[in-house]
Symmetry: D2
Subunit: 346 residues, 4 copies
């Protein structure tokens, strides 16, 4: 039995981790922390856990956490993560960090988009935890930087095209749409029900969203050349889900059927990527609550562009589910263990 | 391994059964039928199942179904169920029927609210499948009439009060609210997104909803006297969930704390009933996708009434989950097997 | 042209007042205040007003407000209202107060449910602004206490039954459901989109909601006897709307058709009460954005109870629209002036 | 007083026309037709109209309609419109057609995307009813082809860039998102509440949506050259609203501030186009129920692309409101008459 801690459990990612870990047969959750709610039973904060989680939320004291757990999931805001992760590592624990703090190869990029990095030495050792890209390295990692939700959807959507060199990489545009849980559980007017319901908007327009450098890092790695993209996030009145509609000009000519076949072959054997049949495109409804990434691909013959549509649940494949998948890889469990749940529909 | 069939799988209850059975370690789904979509892969009809269910939907030919399965879930409309259930039973199969056809002790009641009953002999043998009320009988049953969604929420909400004789049984009013999946997957204008979204309405007002006789049958059984109630269903703009707010006048005096204690004791050991602490009331959000029934109880001292609030997921504890729970009881599996999934929140 | 001020305009009631007043041909909005956002253009806070309201939000300085306006709408929290209303009145201004501060005949009742009343002398003169009950007094009032949203729906639903003495007044139960805008625009976790969406819950159960004494005051006035009710509010995942389902035992025997006729006659000539044909019940969808109160009435013959269902838009007939209707009465404008807009559907 | 008919009033566009026309002081609605519901009071089909519209829905007999009305709004499906419009015109009536039948300059384009055109002679005379593009011609038109919802949002979003020659016209991509009312009121499974709620999907991907030729016709007209675009529509779980995110590469260099100024100047004096301040982007929430088109514009300096975001209410500026605006122009009424209503928020 693997003892794990969930650090920073009072947000939506935290409770999603607890939901998934409850059904994992090889894991015991031995420590749950929350700065805001320390001292309260976790089931008071999240009544969904009532009757199944008896634990009380603890303060985040890194040494005590490390005493209780072999693996630590840090579901903290960026910066807060790198304040405690070094201690966990020093004490020989493995860490899956769900913040942005350990996602970048280059501290300078982090510093340009976020703030000064406090722990560049561990940053160098961290592995970007997208299993479809770096499964082997994840297996050996002591520290995994769990990918952002938007990046997961965009990178998986484009990977086969980039690896096969099928598109003009200067023409990539990703138009992404997210459910509201991506904005977190903080008490902000802009995320109130009445502000969001029955409306739709863009935000972070014009190349300013912090997921851009993360996406570009991985796309560049896959393509073997420096890639710059246009990325626009939007807010959808729904709890969960990200759908990315990705555009690029084809280098040569290819039909929808050609590309669908390339995608099917490329992702053959992947437990969580489902390539749709030629001409079909996904819906976030069909991945809700699951670790799937559904991908559809269509060629627009009139303009020579390819349109890739990818859908994930931002809290699962975009966060907590991917973290569990990474844990499975790190500990040699079957990769889908604890992640067998099918999407909830309707 | 138990071979089971799901008959009538193109509705929301059908797909929910398939979702739950996929995670059940003792069950193989060997046959799935749908009149409307026979010949199509079930994953085409419900893309959530993609990559996990390879089966093709079959026509409903009762003998062939019985050849493939030991236990048959009939998720058909009422009347359609009693057209095929007798064949399954004659061939020695066990049946859990999710329609209304086998829920009544008395064919006359069925006939008053529905239509002529075609199979009164099996009706007599059928067991009303609410485990908290009739666990032992369910274990031995060949045919289980799986309860309706509204009745499950109202009966579980009132059971302790009735068994203990704490209320004036002539004063019961159940004001219930359901998500839209309760209305089924038929193409009707009234269930279109734009007709339902951002609105709230009552329907079936004035003692005409067909779940009334079912509720009254069970409440009368529990109380040992004939009970008549006022019941009003409402439609909530949400996919899943039923919340029933139930009113009755207390016979004697009791505090909220007294009653909460009685409920906790009464439901002690039940795997799926969660009694909230005194003064708390439940939300459908906290049972979504799970087999829980959450119950809160409050005394209104100003008027001498008790207010019970109960919440379930109509597709799980109100239909498919309860059916799986009944199956577990019938076959001696641990009662919660395959039903461990925690509610999805948000 | 009547000069009006809207005091406390950064909430949902405030912006709704501005929306309605914009289409009122006899009114000029000459002053808009907001403590939180003073100094910002009102159209920055509410982009719906862009291009139509050029005003900048002002601090609430009562004397300056009174200099600019003949009539002042106070859309402040309770207590904050009674801190400024006396000044407005002293300076000869008329006031429509949308808080609870001037709704009660008896300061003792206010103090029991709220807090010490700072202005009992004006409370005595204030008129409860439900036009269907007190139209004539409203016309002469200097100070109107604009009714709460739940009370409006319950009182209008019961008024004919009480005036005609048709029910046992000890058996009244009002089960009410509200959209989320009723909870205001404060940044609270519980009102975040993800906390509310796709869920349904009760709150304030057991006779504790502050609208109870207001409802009971008016029902008692209408019935000519002291009435105590059970009232349960619920939260619906929708922006706007209140639907109240109201139960009482009939004193004598009456059919649905009898009562529908009584209601039609009773509300004949009322510009905003629409009585539905016998057997029909309303939906909040059909009053959204309008000042209508739709009422349906059904007798449950099996139990001798009557079920009244009433629907309003909580921000219009339940707040800002009713305030404009009161203004029209106070100034002799046609009662529906500026309120002609039909409900927005879908 | 202008007598108008609404032909095909049982859809969402029809009821929206009736809502808007009710508040128009120069118009009397003298005839309302519906094939499906002829003989029923219109207020039975749309309870929002209760108490304000007493009319009974009529069969569509063109000559009788023409006898009753000077101006006829045809809110019919395409093809059904061109079956009756010629009669109206022959009888000297003016027509605003809300279908696609009279939107194209070239019958061949219509025939490529729709079906054989039955009335090419009137097609030639019809004016594309986007006031911001062709106000003068609309004034004189006997027949107006009212624009589609997606085209309105895309054309208004791009017009200043095209007229000023600021973008590389081979690089235009419009990623559009629509509320569900755009799919009409037909009883289809795919538009049921539970199929749409809490999900997001693309559809018509790859250059196949019928609004493409309409958009391209107008963009080409504005640019003075043949333009081909990539267009992807999406379905948002909300009733109303379209938001289009439009991408193009800038020909030269321009800042966000430069372009915002160009847009403000370009649309100066337009009653319904609101250009947001530099860096702001719109939300459909802020135009709901109104005839506004809100536009924001941002330059992505990293990639040299401009991103335009435009928002409308698809049933108002995208259909019925634009039709009323066209009527106002045709009859010399103030252009905003009957369209003064501010957006409903929340």
């Amino acid at each position: 039995m693997l003892n794990v801690a969930v650090v920073g459990a009072s947000g939506y990612t935290g409770v999603e981790l607890l939901r998934l870990l409850h059904c994992h047969p090889e894991v015991a959750v031995t420590c749950i922390t929350s700065e805001q709610s320390a001292g309260r039973p976790v089931a008071d904060v999240f009544p969904t856990l009532r009757g199944r989680y008896a634990q009380v939320l603890e303060n985040l004291e890194p040494v005590r956490v490390a005493e209780k757990a072999d693996l630590i999931f840090t579901a903290l805001p960026h910066k807060a993560a790198m304040e405690v992760v070094p201690t966990f590592l020093k004490l020989g624990r493995r860490v899956i960090d769900l913040s942005a703090d350990y996602r970048f190869n280059d501290a300078a990029v982090y510093e340009q988009w976020y703030e000064p990095h406090m722990n560049p030495e561990n940053l160098k050792e961290a592995v970007y935890g997208l299993p479809e890209v770096r499964r082997v390295k994840i297996g050996d990692a002591q520290l995994v930087g769990n990918p952002g939700c938007y990046p997961t959807s965009v990178i998986l959507g484009l990977m086969p095209l980039l690896k096969k060199g099928l598109i003009d990489t200067t023409t990539i545009i990703a138009d992404s749409k997210s459910g509201v849980s991506g904005a977190g559980r903080g008490a902000k007017v802009e995320n109130l029900y009445c502000e969001v319901n029955d409306g739709f908007k863009a935000y972070g327009v014009g190349g300013v969203h912090r997921h851009i450098p993360e996406i570009e890092q991985e796309l560049s790695f896959l393509a073997g050349e420096r890639i710059t993209i246009t990325f626009t996030p939007h807010l959808v009145p729904m709890d969960r889900g990200i759908l990315s509609t990705i555009y690029a000009r084809l280098s040569g000519s290819a039909t929808t059927a050609d590309l669908a076949k390339i995608y099917v072959d490329f992702y053959d054997g992947e437990p969580f990527v489902r390539v749709l049949s030629a001409g079909s495109v996904p819906s976030t409804s069909h991945v809700r609550g699951s670790n799937f990434c559904d991908i559809g691909i269509v060629v627009d013959c009139r303009t020579g562009r390819v349109v890739v549509v990818s859908a994930i649940d931002n809290l699962v494949k975009g966060a907590a589910g991917q973290a569990v998948q990474n844990m499975n890889i790190m500990y040699g469990f079957p990769e889908a263990l604890g992640l067998e749940g099918l999407p909830l529909f309707p």
